[in-house]
Amino acid sequence: MNKRMFISKLKKELKNYKKIDSEEIIYYYDEMIQDALDEGQNENDFIKSLGSIDSIIGNIIKDGDFIKEVKSANNNSLINIVSTTVRVISLLCYYFALFIIGIIYISIVIAGFSVVAQAGIYLAVDNLDTMGQIALGAVMLVGLGIGLIGLALIKHLLNNTQSIRLYIIRKTKQLFSKQRSQ
């Protein structure tokens, strides 16, 4: 593989990762390869020594995760510095909020899929004309859409539990410090 092929392959792969600053990485490798060539290294051998594009991107992501890990570890320590009262109240609020939001989302999913089921039963049991069948089919699709939206919301909620918890801890802490200053 020569430099041009490598760079274009890297560019193509990096397109899948929006959070990575791809232009800078491409610049970095372009410069690196050019420097190696200027030093008299063999183009193919050097590019082979760079490793696979997967491992290159993997290293960048791994490091990003590492930074995130350190950050979240710092965030977690927020709970250690707040007082026990704040901690208990905020955790209660957190579970309560999670419970309420979770129930709302689950009910959306159930509503969506029950529309699908209901329409399906009508479609199977009742003797309908073509128009009626099309209409019920449309209703089923709408129900499916609602159900999938509900599932996506649940997934989103599960992905963001950490930030919700931190948000509540922060708010509770603010509330308490305000009361104290009054």
Binding site: E24, I25, Y27, Y28, Y29, E31, M32, Q34, D35, A36, D38, E39, L50, G51, S55, I56, N59, I60, K62, D63, G64, F66, I67, E69, V70
Partner: protein, 112 residues
């Protein structure tokens, strides 16, 4: 349970220690003169194994932490990015030497 926590902490510490050392190696490689990606790899690889793909995140991190400064110059009618250590970076290197003395003492204690 306690054991698992300890294991995870040990693992994290291992990563952190390694990352920290690599950061210091890169800082040390530009301690006396500004350098660029390829040369940093060449300089460090005489002492330890480091790949191009490992170096990039380190440089990026050092830049983010404002331990190094970067600038572009033209070389052979193309742009080359140079890395320059700044005061904070030098401070960190100095600090690391004190840390190493402590680690050395701990190591001697562990090994005895």
């Amino acid at each position: 349970m306690h054991c698992i926590v300890l294991c995870i902490r040990g693992y994290l510490m291992d990563i952190q220690l390694k990352k920290g050392l690599l950061d210091l190696m890169v800082l040390a490689s530009i301690k006396y003169e500004d350098s660029y990606g390829y040369k940093i790899i060449q300089d460090i690889s005489t002492i330890m194994d480091i790949s191009e793909s490992t170096l990039y995140p380190i440089l990026k991190r050092l830049e983010k932490q404002k331990l190094v400064k970067t600038y572009n110059t033209t070389y052979n009618s193309r742009i080359r990015k140079y890395y320059q250590i700044n005061q904070d970076g030098l401070e960190k290197l100095k600090q690391s030497i004190d840390d190493f003395d402590e680690i050395k003492r701990m190591y001697t204690f562990i090994k005895r």
